[in-house]
Point group: C3
Chain length 365, copies 3
């Protein structure tokens, strides 16, 4: 058993500890920290399981699998929060997840992968299709706010109707994307596999343990969801004890923890030079949030009687727009190096500082 495995086994102890802390009421800050620590090994296990499964099912399906599992967590948390009426916090965490995956996750993957390998490559056609999808998602999020901003008075109901209509367009695009990547243009996504193909023996071994890894993936995902709940419950009190604003917490802190799984997977596979899978996880997760999670939340909110529109705070929009701009500029040529990773992280730092210093945003406390 390697040192890394021992560390992760020890960290797993925080799963029962955090649950005990919650039940026995050891204080919000304790729950917050223990739940945060408990998520780390779970995310690592999800990463390992995904990578093993990816050997069998190919990087695209593997990436999709991971992004779905990661975002399932976020979707559950968001629906609970939405049901409790925390509409602005849910919006902030959507913004933050998009920014975090594009800049922090992809940046760290390219930096750490780039320190090992001079230049790393991934499918440029896929990268460009993803860049265009990301542009469309940013446009869809931008438009309701722009309509509100440029009209001399618009009713909340109109913005709500527009948001629902746009949500339906986005979900249709999401389905088309699945058809494209899994049916009509599979070969584009498979090209990456050939390059990263493990030996026959590895694949055989992985296949024989397929159901073990499926079990690990499911178990870890459920536990991540439980821990995330504890974390979110304790978040408000804990972060105010740490002197952080609700906005900074919603945009920066929640998504960092919420995307830990994608984070771990993307970075791990990048360091093994499987950049196709790494970029697929980071970009794919952002796309899923914009094209699937956000529309589902708009429609769910409407059904739950907690209407959530796509009318974001203008500064959140600026942050999403510049994140998409620089992420596309860096990813669309299908190559990366450590400096490009650094640039993404620097952009994240600049935005993080701005959210830290931003004095107040309407509706977010």
């Amino acid at each position: 058993m390697s040192g890394k495995n021992i560390l992760f086994s020890v960290l797993l102890l925080f799963v029962p500890v955090s649950i005990a802390a919650h039940i026995l009421e050891w204080g919000e800050l304790t729950v917050f920290i223990t739940a945060g620590l408990a998520i780390l090994p779970l995310a690592a296990w999800m990463g390992s399981a995904t990578e093993e499964l990816a050997v069998v099912v190919g990087p695209t399906l593997g990436g999709l699998l991971n992004a779905t599992f990661g975002n399932a967590t976020e979707l559950i948390i968001a629906i609970v929060a939405l049901n409790a009426g925390l509409v602005d916090v849910v919006k902030a965490s959507i913004t933050g997840s998009i920014i975090g995956n594009l800049l922090l996750v992809m940046g760290l993957s390219m930096l750490l992968g780039g320190l090992r390998y001079k230049e790393q490559e991934f499918q440029p056609v896929v990268a460009r299709v993803n860049a265009s999808l990301m542009n469309l998602a940013a446009i869809a999020i931008l438009i309701p706010t722009a309509v509100d901003f440029t009209s001399s008075g618009i009713s909340e109901a109109t913005i709500q109707h527009l948001s629902i209509a746009i949500a339906i367009v986005l979900m249709a695009v999401y389905i088309m994307t699945l058809v494209f990547s899994m049916k009509t243009h599979v070969y584009l996504y498979d090209a990456g596999v050939a390059a990263a193909e493990p030996s026959e023996d590895d694949a055989e071994e992985a296949k024989s343990k397929l159901w073990v890894w499926v079990g690990v993936l499911l178990g870890a995902t459920i536990l991540v969801a439980v821990e995330s709940e504890l974390l979110v419950d304790a978040l408000e009190v804990a972060t105010s004890q740490l002197g952080l604003t609700a906005l900074f917490t919603g945009v920066v802190l929640v998504p960092i923890i919420g995307n830990a799984a994608e984070h771990a997977t993307a970075v791990t596979v990048a360091m093994k030079n499987k950049m196709d899978l790494s970029v697929s996880v980071a970009l794919g997760s952002s796309l899923q949030i914009a094209l699937f999670v956000a529309p589902v939340l708009v429609i769910t909110g409407w059904v739950l009687g907690q209407p959530m529109d796509l009318n974001f705070n203008p500064f959140e929009l600026v942050a999403v727009a510049v994140s998409v701009l620089i992420a596309n500029s860096i990813s669309s040529d299908g190559r990366s190096n450590w400096l490009e990773g650094t640039l993404l992280l620097a952009a994240y730092a600049v935005l993080g500082l701005a959210f830290y210093f931003h004095p107040v945003i309407d509706g977010i406390g």
Copy 2:
């Protein structure tokens, strides 16, 4: 005679019908619908004629020819509307034509072409030059509005002077573009021909019928112009009967009908895998409107005493900016597939919904 030809022959009957409807005053809605139906076969004939002529003169000149003929119609309508003082409607139709060509025409071409061919290619160098031209055009349209928006008070005369100066720069760029594509860098544009070159026999046959097709092109163009006039005259009353706002009509409906010719041509040739010609028509038409039609209208308005500046409504600007962004992101690699076409159409749908729900814009109904 094929089924398609029979259909188009029957639709041609709407030309005299619409004229009769206008003269005999059968009601605005009747004129509107019959004129709209009459334009369809005329646009199709223009498409056929352009394609035949393109065989002889090459796709660039063919594309330019078609874009010019399509835009001649728009230019005539716009000048008439401008002379009648409908400055804001003219501006809205400029915005709408740019958006419509970039998203609707190019999107439909890539989607329908992509359903037949897995990947379609066109000259990447030309695509990139066009993307940069489109960026310049968007900047030129953006700047007067930005000057107005960021200054604490600016006279109408100053905006007018700035608009005229920018119009002159744009027209100079347009002339340079023609020199580039037809004189100094013809080989870039010819490369596309070689790939789509028809057999010697086809070219011979086309040459022998050259003047027939020139006649068809001219005749169809004139009739399109006549029908467009009927359509525009009837538009205001008819669309209010249909429950649509003047803004939606100006930005969405007028350009769809006004660009039917480009539409038909671009889609038809895309389905024959002549993507160089298809993209050339769609992008070329947008560029011609931004670099030629808009400047001509600014200067004509000044001469007619109906000053038209380039100070657009901010939401129209947002719409143009995001259209250029996503169209460039999709076209600049010189390849397309059906999903990319779908993305352009989805962006068009999002913008169309926004214009539909946009409550009111100053100066437009």
Copy 3:
């Protein structure tokens, strides 16, 4: 001695003439014009010296050398102006230098180079890394203004703290960029040398005269700094005599003269088909201003008790954003032609016209 050399020798006479004009108080306009003329041959000498040194040290280091020397001048002027409390003029000259290098210098290089050579090439990987760096720089400049604009009230101190934090991020990125280009990924930048490699004899000859050219470079740089001081001192009175506003002067006139050295070098080497060096000088100079000069000024201003933040006027931001957009769109494929140069110049003309007509900007006369 060639005609060009004779002209430059004659223009050198304006160095003592301008100094005399300043000391003997011949009037501000005289000092302004003579100092401006004196800078031209000095910039040309700097260009020649840089080109000779570039033969020995390679185009990257040569480009960096030139950009540093050119920007040393600007940095000295800016610190003096900052110390005198002219914060808004310093900000305007930062904006203007970025725009001027991206559009005017690169545009003229591509146009004049493109008139001699049909297509010119430069390292596409380097061009794309530079494009991403430029995006990051634009984001960093945009964010403080966006925070100010989207919040309902923010203290000057908060903006100042945010600006200093962002300045530190930018300087860290700048250092990383030097590590990338000079240590870990030298080969990317060296690839350009091989193509433009002069004969062994030239290199030998250049090496033997190395110290002569170093002396010329240093001497010319010092004289450019002296002349620039005279120019700036005389600028305010002289330009108001010419009927120009302070804004136009700060954004357009100061940077044209201040970047004369980069201008001369970039254009000269472009006409010798050394596009790697040319683009490296133009883009490198913009990047140095955004990633090094601007942060240094923010921190220096803080030390000097003349706090300078990164909260620019919104129209300056629009101008920087569109300049970065079109410069990236044109440079990122690693190829150029005369039309692309024309487009950059047209964008510069449009922005120049807008600054000329812009009525007033807070804080700038």
